[in-house]
Amino acid sequence: MRPYFEKMPAFGKELKENRLARTRDSRAKLEEVEAGIAAARKAREQVGLPADAINKRGSLTVWQRLEALVDPGSWHPLHSLYNPEDNEEGTTNVVDGLAKIAGRWAVVIGFDNKVLAGAWIAGQSENILRVTNLARRLRVPLVWLVNCSGVKLPDQEKFYADRRGGGTPFYRHAELNQEGVPILAGIYGTNPAGGGYQAISPTILLAHKDANLAVGGAGIVSGMSPRGGFDVAGLEELIAKTRDIKERPPGRVETHFGETGFLSRVYDDEKGVLEGIKEYMRAIPAYDPAFFRVAAPAEPRLPASDLYHLLPFNQKEGYVFDDLLARLVDGSEHMEFRPGYGPEIYTGLVKVDGMLLGAIGNRQGLLPKGYPEYADYPGIGGKLYRQGLIKMNEFVTQCGRDRLPVIWFQDTTGIDVGDIAEKAELLGLGQSLIYSIQQTEVPMMLVVLRKGSAAAHYVMGGPTANRHNVFTLGTAATEIYVMHGETAAVATYSRRAIKEKDSARPLEPIAEKMNEMAKKYFDTSRPAYCARYGFVDEIVELKALRGYLKAFAGAAYQNPASICPRHQMLLPRLIRG
């Protein structure tokens, strides 16, 4: 298959001088949002005790542990701003991302031991579920830096119980183990109760000498029997008991290494634990990337810096999607699937780090005359029409057959609507695309370049594709909502406006409410909001986007569950004809 993949057709046009000049302001706006996100991420890293205070206790912070653990330059953070329950701490108290350890991709997560000694807090179990799902979909190890003081007791009602509460990740750990996805845990500090299960549920447990893990910690054991209230005598007794038990907390290394043998290894030095994880990472099954490369890795022929001039900050302005994609893929080369058919959608094969991927994206701007073929109105990019939906169904199905991971790029206002569109079967074809995605077994990632809107956000590999969507990235131009705020205001208030008018009442209050609603839609669809509430897994700078694509490709091809020999793939033949 060398003739197919080694040198694929080049695509993407050089940036024109007049576009460069015209889009300087747009670039500045994109960079301003990126700077705001970077500042928020930095602030998030600094919550809790200062690093010095942790270091004085003889411990490293989670960030220092991560730095010592992951291969330089391989850290791709996820959920940096995720805080769906609006915790006062400004975090879910876990830090996670994709990274290489000892040359192999892993999903890495650690408790932030600067905040409440790594306690469970609201939103954390949902964060952990996203992370366990990541490891599951990519079939790469999950590496835990456990340092968890257990439940933040004053807030327990927010996250202890429920179907997706604090205990759910332990079931997910069991599922990962059963599916052959290993979980490595480096254990530090005091890990009672929830922290204890966090420490015991992985596959291989490596601990620092001062760590402990237990069903219940010193606090619970010393105050175990409720007596119907508290008095001074009771408190004296409690103080004495607590002093004693604090000296020798349950679940110390001498118990779980020396007696139960739960811990595989114990290290005197904090960094020793990390070296142990690296050693185990070298022992896990992983293909050399060369096994799946269809060509030598190559940087795009066209520079990533152009992305800031190609993706307009102004949501109403069109752009050439193919030019943007050409800045993200190896050699700016591709093999387009069914060019000309369904012109509102790009589908094609691309290489990232020498590995073959399917790419799907919304094209923008005015579509060719006569399209959509079923209607007498012009077609506009960003919308989905009949042919585009059929083409995506075909492409996804073939990617599944050829075992090709898929990258989706969304900038969509939705599926075409109205009687004519209904007759053209668009409702059914949208759901068919969901069916097509679900009957594949390949991992998928999504980049919401600008708009993720209406049902199109679901059908185009959105986060709702729970079993497939590994992660979703946003950009400085991302906005996600069911529909534009002004459209929503019209849908909500138009009938009421008629009633007010017919009753000769003033229309100003209605206009005011409509403006309020439009503003709320705007405020709750910004990139930082999308990241905070989990609409996306991370907002990524445009210049860093290719790094995430490479991480996705590398991880997806590290240990796939199923393989299609390249000479038995159909898509390249269907494209060539």
């Binding site: 024109k16 015209r22 102004n314 109403k316 302005e317 701007g365 005015l366 005359k369 012009p378």
Partner: protein, 71 residues
Amino acid sequence: MAEEVRAPLAGNIFKVLVEPGAKVQEDDELLVIEALKMENLVYSPCGGTVKEVRVKPGDKVDEDAVLLVIE
């Protein structure tokens, strides 16, 4: 030879990006038409010099209306 650049769809002229006398290349951006809630770029079909601009921002244009002429 003069080439007329026509409106690909009906709408309002939002921006004119070139002036008479400007040198343009094929695929350069010439103007923006606001229609279908979007700002639609109109690109140059050929290289040459802008001989005449027949529209200004705010004008309503029909589909196929001549927007400018390139020589």
